[in-house]
Symmetry: C2
Subunit: 169 residues, 2 copies
Protein backbone atom coordinates (compact mmCIF):
# COMPACT_ATOMS: atom_id res chain seq x y z
CA UNK A 1 0.00 0.00 0.00
CA UNK A 2 1.17 3.50 -0.87
CA UNK A 3 1.75 5.92 1.92
CA UNK A 4 3.58 9.19 2.40
CA UNK A 5 5.69 10.38 5.32
CA UNK A 6 5.80 14.17 5.48
CA UNK A 7 6.34 17.03 7.93
CA UNK A 8 3.25 17.85 9.98
CA UNK A 9 1.64 21.26 9.66
CA UNK A 10 -0.92 23.09 11.76
CA UNK A 11 -3.82 21.61 9.77
CA UNK A 12 -2.79 18.14 10.97
CA UNK A 13 -3.43 18.93 14.64
CA UNK A 14 -7.00 17.64 14.63
CA UNK A 15 -5.80 14.24 13.43
CA UNK A 16 -2.77 14.28 15.72
CA UNK A 17 -5.05 14.99 18.71
CA UNK A 18 -7.30 12.10 17.64
CA UNK A 19 -4.36 9.71 17.31
CA UNK A 20 -2.75 10.91 20.57
CA UNK A 21 -5.94 9.75 22.29
CA UNK A 22 -6.03 6.46 20.36
CA UNK A 23 -2.43 5.77 21.42
CA UNK A 24 -3.17 6.65 25.05
CA UNK A 25 -6.21 4.35 25.03
CA UNK A 26 -4.04 1.57 23.62
CA UNK A 27 -1.47 2.17 26.38
CA UNK A 28 -4.29 2.48 28.98
CA UNK A 29 -3.09 5.94 30.05
CA UNK A 30 -5.85 8.02 28.45
CA UNK A 31 -6.75 9.60 31.80
CA UNK A 32 -3.26 11.18 31.77
CA UNK A 33 -3.83 13.01 28.48
CA UNK A 34 -4.67 16.66 29.10
CA UNK A 35 -3.70 18.24 25.79
CA UNK A 36 -6.13 19.31 23.07
CA UNK A 37 -5.99 20.11 19.38
CA UNK A 38 -5.61 23.79 20.30
CA UNK A 39 -2.64 23.03 22.56
CA UNK A 40 -0.95 21.13 19.73
CA UNK A 41 -1.57 24.01 17.30
CA UNK A 42 -0.10 26.53 19.69
CA UNK A 43 2.77 24.45 21.08
CA UNK A 44 3.98 22.93 17.82
CA UNK A 45 3.38 25.60 15.23
CA UNK A 46 4.21 28.95 16.82
CA UNK A 47 7.47 30.88 16.52
CA UNK A 48 9.30 28.80 19.13
CA UNK A 49 7.80 25.34 18.76
CA UNK A 50 8.08 22.85 21.62
CA UNK A 51 7.96 19.93 19.18
CA UNK A 52 7.96 19.01 15.51
CA UNK A 53 5.86 16.33 13.89
CA UNK A 54 5.69 13.95 10.96
CA UNK A 55 2.56 12.39 9.52
CA UNK A 56 1.92 9.12 7.66
CA UNK A 57 -0.81 9.56 5.08
CA UNK A 58 -2.54 7.15 2.69
CA UNK A 59 -4.30 8.01 -0.58
CA UNK A 60 -8.06 8.70 -0.53
CA UNK A 61 -8.91 5.24 -1.84
CA UNK A 62 -7.37 3.66 1.25
CA UNK A 63 -9.05 5.97 3.78
CA UNK A 64 -10.59 4.38 6.85
CA UNK A 65 -14.34 3.83 7.10
CA UNK A 66 -14.46 6.99 9.25
CA UNK A 67 -12.77 8.87 6.39
CA UNK A 68 -9.28 9.24 7.85
CA UNK A 69 -6.27 9.43 5.53
CA UNK A 70 -3.79 10.58 8.20
CA UNK A 71 -3.13 7.24 9.81
CA UNK A 72 0.10 7.62 11.77
CA UNK A 73 2.31 10.21 13.39
CA UNK A 74 5.42 10.79 15.41
CA UNK A 75 6.47 13.90 17.32
CA UNK A 76 10.04 14.82 18.16
CA UNK A 77 12.26 17.60 19.47
CA UNK A 78 15.98 18.16 19.69
CA UNK A 79 17.58 17.43 23.01
CA UNK A 80 20.92 16.80 24.66
CA UNK A 81 22.79 14.45 26.91
CA UNK A 82 26.14 15.10 28.52
CA UNK A 83 27.20 11.60 27.54
CA UNK A 84 26.95 11.91 23.80
CA UNK A 85 25.75 15.41 23.02
CA UNK A 86 23.10 16.19 20.44
CA UNK A 87 20.07 13.95 20.48
CA UNK A 88 16.69 13.76 18.85
CA UNK A 89 13.89 12.73 21.20
CA UNK A 90 10.84 10.93 19.85
CA UNK A 91 7.71 11.74 21.82
CA UNK A 92 5.21 9.32 20.32
CA UNK A 93 5.16 6.81 17.50
CA UNK A 94 1.75 5.65 16.37
CA UNK A 95 0.16 3.86 13.42
CA UNK A 96 -3.56 3.08 13.40
CA UNK A 97 -4.12 -0.65 14.05
CA UNK A 98 -5.56 -1.46 10.60
CA UNK A 99 -2.42 -0.05 8.92
CA UNK A 100 0.14 -1.94 10.99
CA UNK A 101 2.48 -4.60 9.68
CA UNK A 102 3.31 -2.61 6.55
CA UNK A 103 6.47 -0.86 7.70
CA UNK A 104 4.79 2.50 8.32
CA UNK A 105 5.95 2.71 11.95
CA UNK A 106 9.46 1.82 10.88
CA UNK A 107 9.29 4.47 8.15
CA UNK A 108 8.20 7.13 10.66
CA UNK A 109 10.99 6.23 13.05
CA UNK A 110 13.48 6.06 10.18
CA UNK A 111 12.49 9.60 9.17
CA UNK A 112 13.22 10.86 12.69
CA UNK A 113 16.59 9.09 12.61
CA UNK A 114 17.35 10.82 9.28
CA UNK A 115 16.34 14.23 10.63
CA UNK A 116 18.41 13.65 13.76
CA UNK A 117 21.53 12.57 11.90
CA UNK A 118 21.17 15.57 9.55
CA UNK A 119 21.15 17.84 12.63
CA UNK A 120 24.31 16.23 14.01
CA UNK A 121 22.60 14.02 16.57
CA UNK A 122 24.24 10.76 17.56
CA UNK A 123 21.27 9.28 19.40
CA UNK A 124 17.52 8.90 19.16
CA UNK A 125 15.98 8.70 22.62
CA UNK A 126 12.44 8.03 23.79
CA UNK A 127 10.44 6.36 26.51
CA UNK A 128 8.46 3.16 25.98
CA UNK A 129 5.99 1.33 28.17
CA UNK A 130 7.46 -1.95 29.45
CA UNK A 131 4.02 -3.61 29.45
CA UNK A 132 3.76 -3.00 25.71
CA UNK A 133 5.79 -6.03 24.64
CA UNK A 134 5.08 -5.74 20.90
CA UNK A 135 6.35 -2.14 20.86
CA UNK A 136 9.45 -3.08 22.84
CA UNK A 137 10.14 -5.98 20.48
CA UNK A 138 9.80 -3.58 17.55
CA UNK A 139 12.28 -1.16 19.14
CA UNK A 140 14.75 -3.93 19.94
CA UNK A 141 14.57 -5.10 16.31
CA UNK A 142 15.64 -1.57 15.31
CA UNK A 143 18.71 -1.95 17.51
CA UNK A 144 17.49 0.19 20.41
CA UNK A 145 18.79 -0.29 23.95
CA UNK A 146 16.72 -0.23 27.13
CA UNK A 147 18.72 2.27 29.21
CA UNK A 148 16.47 1.74 32.22
CA UNK A 149 17.14 -2.00 32.22
CA UNK A 150 20.82 -1.77 31.20
CA UNK A 151 22.04 1.12 33.35
CA UNK A 152 19.23 1.83 35.81
CA UNK A 153 18.06 5.25 34.67
CA UNK A 154 14.50 6.01 35.73
CA UNK A 155 12.25 8.58 34.10
CA UNK A 156 11.20 11.13 36.72
CA UNK A 157 8.69 13.97 36.70
CA UNK A 158 7.73 16.91 38.88
CA UNK A 159 4.42 18.59 38.14
CA UNK A 160 1.33 20.22 39.56
CA UNK A 161 1.64 21.62 43.08
CA UNK A 162 5.05 20.03 43.55
CA UNK A 163 6.38 22.00 40.57
CA UNK A 164 4.83 25.24 41.83
CA UNK A 165 6.34 24.61 45.25
CA UNK A 166 9.76 23.76 43.82
CA UNK A 167 9.77 27.03 41.87
CA UNK A 168 9.37 29.11 45.03
CA UNK A 169 12.71 30.68 45.98
CA UNK B 1 27.53 30.65 52.37
CA UNK B 2 26.72 33.09 49.58
CA UNK B 3 26.23 31.72 46.13
CA UNK B 4 24.71 32.90 42.88
CA UNK B 5 22.57 31.02 40.38
CA UNK B 6 22.83 32.54 36.92
CA UNK B 7 22.41 31.66 33.25
CA UNK B 8 25.44 29.89 31.79
CA UNK B 9 27.39 31.50 28.98
CA UNK B 10 29.98 30.17 26.57
CA UNK B 11 32.84 31.04 28.96
CA UNK B 12 31.42 28.53 31.44
CA UNK B 13 31.90 25.54 29.16
CA UNK B 14 35.33 24.64 30.53
CA UNK B 15 33.87 24.35 34.03
CA UNK B 16 30.72 22.60 32.79
CA UNK B 17 32.89 20.03 30.97
CA UNK B 18 34.91 19.50 34.16
CA UNK B 19 31.77 19.02 36.26
CA UNK B 20 30.09 16.79 33.63
CA UNK B 21 33.04 14.44 34.10
CA UNK B 22 32.92 14.71 37.91
CA UNK B 23 29.21 13.83 37.84
CA UNK B 24 29.81 10.89 35.48
CA UNK B 25 32.60 9.61 37.73
CA UNK B 26 30.28 9.87 40.71
CA UNK B 27 27.60 7.92 38.80
CA UNK B 28 30.25 5.47 37.53
CA UNK B 29 29.33 6.14 33.89
CA UNK B 30 32.38 8.20 32.91
CA UNK B 31 33.23 5.80 30.08
CA UNK B 32 29.93 6.87 28.47
CA UNK B 33 30.86 10.55 28.31
CA UNK B 34 32.03 11.52 24.84
CA UNK B 35 31.43 15.26 24.83
CA UNK B 36 34.11 17.92 25.22
CA UNK B 37 34.26 21.59 26.16
CA UNK B 38 34.20 22.42 22.43
CA UNK B 39 31.03 20.35 21.93
CA UNK B 40 29.33 22.21 24.77
CA UNK B 41 30.38 25.58 23.32
CA UNK B 42 29.02 24.68 19.92
CA UNK B 43 25.88 22.83 20.99
CA UNK B 44 24.72 25.18 23.71
CA UNK B 45 25.74 28.62 22.51
CA UNK B 46 25.14 28.74 18.77
CA UNK B 47 22.13 30.17 16.97
CA UNK B 48 19.94 27.12 17.56
CA UNK B 49 21.11 25.78 20.92
CA UNK B 50 20.43 22.16 21.84
CA UNK B 51 20.41 23.04 25.55
CA UNK B 52 20.54 25.92 28.01
CA UNK B 53 22.47 25.97 31.26
CA UNK B 54 22.58 27.53 34.67
CA UNK B 55 25.62 27.85 36.93
CA UNK B 56 26.05 28.01 40.70
CA UNK B 57 28.94 30.25 41.62
CA UNK B 58 30.56 31.16 44.93
CA UNK B 59 32.60 34.30 45.75
CA UNK B 60 36.40 34.19 45.32
CA UNK B 61 36.98 33.76 49.06
CA UNK B 62 35.13 30.45 48.98
CA UNK B 63 36.87 29.04 45.91
CA UNK B 64 38.07 25.44 46.06
CA UNK B 65 41.71 24.63 46.66
CA UNK B 66 42.01 24.07 42.90
CA UNK B 67 40.68 27.60 42.40
CA UNK B 68 37.15 26.79 41.19
CA UNK B 69 34.32 29.25 41.87
CA UNK B 70 31.82 27.60 39.50
CA UNK B 71 30.75 24.76 41.74
CA UNK B 72 27.45 23.50 40.33
CA UNK B 73 25.42 23.41 37.15
CA UNK B 74 22.26 22.15 35.54
CA UNK B 75 21.41 21.91 31.86
CA UNK B 76 17.90 21.92 30.44
CA UNK B 77 15.91 22.17 27.24
CA UNK B 78 12.25 22.60 26.42
CA UNK B 79 10.38 19.46 25.49
CA UNK B 80 6.90 18.03 25.12
CA UNK B 81 4.68 15.17 26.11
CA UNK B 82 1.31 14.35 24.61
CA UNK B 83 -0.02 13.79 28.13
CA UNK B 84 0.48 17.26 29.52
CA UNK B 85 2.06 19.37 26.81
CA UNK B 86 4.94 21.75 27.41
CA UNK B 87 7.72 20.43 29.57
CA UNK B 88 11.15 21.47 30.68
CA UNK B 89 13.68 18.67 30.72
CA UNK B 90 16.63 18.79 33.12
CA UNK B 91 19.70 17.07 31.70
CA UNK B 92 22.04 17.10 34.68
CA UNK B 93 22.01 18.53 38.19
CA UNK B 94 25.36 18.68 39.94
CA UNK B 95 26.94 20.39 42.94
CA UNK B 96 30.57 19.70 43.87
CA UNK B 97 30.73 17.44 46.97
CA UNK B 98 32.27 20.03 49.30
CA UNK B 99 29.39 22.45 48.59
CA UNK B 100 26.54 20.00 49.21
CA UNK B 101 24.04 20.25 52.04
CA UNK B 102 23.59 24.00 51.59
CA UNK B 103 20.55 24.05 49.34
CA UNK B 104 22.50 24.79 46.15
CA UNK B 105 21.16 21.74 44.28
CA UNK B 106 17.65 22.66 45.34
CA UNK B 107 18.23 26.25 44.19
CA UNK B 108 19.44 25.06 40.77
CA UNK B 109 16.43 22.79 40.33
CA UNK B 110 14.12 25.53 41.60
CA UNK B 111 15.51 27.89 38.95
CA UNK B 112 14.70 25.37 36.22
CA UNK B 113 11.19 24.99 37.63
CA UNK B 114 10.78 28.80 37.51
CA UNK B 115 12.04 28.99 33.93
CA UNK B 116 9.75 26.13 32.93
CA UNK B 117 6.65 27.64 34.53
CA UNK B 118 7.44 31.01 32.93
CA UNK B 119 7.50 29.26 29.53
CA UNK B 120 4.12 27.64 30.16
CA UNK B 121 5.46 24.22 31.09
CA UNK B 122 3.44 22.05 33.47
CA UNK B 123 6.14 19.48 34.16
CA UNK B 124 9.85 19.15 34.83
CA UNK B 125 11.14 15.82 33.57
CA UNK B 126 14.52 14.14 33.85
CA UNK B 127 16.18 10.78 34.27
CA UNK B 128 17.87 9.66 37.48
CA UNK B 129 20.02 6.67 38.31
CA UNK B 130 18.16 4.23 40.56
CA UNK B 131 21.41 3.15 42.26
CA UNK B 132 21.96 6.75 43.40
CA UNK B 133 19.69 6.57 46.46
CA UNK B 134 20.66 9.96 47.91
CA UNK B 135 19.76 11.71 44.64
CA UNK B 136 16.47 9.82 44.41
CA UNK B 137 15.64 10.73 48.01
CA UNK B 138 16.39 14.37 47.18
CA UNK B 139 14.07 14.24 44.16
CA UNK B 140 11.29 12.55 46.12
CA UNK B 141 11.58 15.26 48.80
CA UNK B 142 10.93 17.81 46.03
CA UNK B 143 7.70 15.97 45.20
CA UNK B 144 8.95 14.21 42.06
CA UNK B 145 7.40 10.97 40.83
CA UNK B 146 9.26 7.96 39.50
CA UNK B 147 7.39 7.39 36.22
CA UNK B 148 9.39 4.25 35.48
CA UNK B 149 8.37 2.66 38.80
CA UNK B 150 4.80 4.04 38.82
CA UNK B 151 3.74 3.52 35.20
CA UNK B 152 6.43 1.35 33.64
CA UNK B 153 8.01 3.76 31.18
CA UNK B 154 11.55 2.79 30.22
CA UNK B 155 14.13 5.16 28.80
CA UNK B 156 15.27 3.84 25.42
CA UNK B 157 18.04 4.84 23.03
CA UNK B 158 19.15 4.11 19.49
CA UNK B 159 22.65 5.17 18.53
CA UNK B 160 25.80 4.32 16.62
CA UNK B 161 25.42 1.83 13.80
CA UNK B 162 21.83 1.04 14.80
CA UNK B 163 20.88 4.69 14.27
CA UNK B 164 22.68 4.84 10.92
CA UNK B 165 20.92 1.66 9.86
CA UNK B 166 17.51 2.88 11.06
CA UNK B 167 17.93 6.06 9.00
CA UNK B 168 18.34 4.11 5.76
CA UNK B 169 15.13 4.29 3.72
Amino acid sequence: MDYTIRAANVEDCQDIARMVMELAEHDKVSDLVKITQEDLEQDGFSKKPFFHGIIAEVPEQHRTKEGHTKIGYALYFYSYTTWKGRAVYMVDLYVMPEFRGRGIGKALMSKIAQLGLAAGCTQLNFIALEQNKSSLDFYFRQGCSDITADIGYHYMSCNGEALEHLAQP
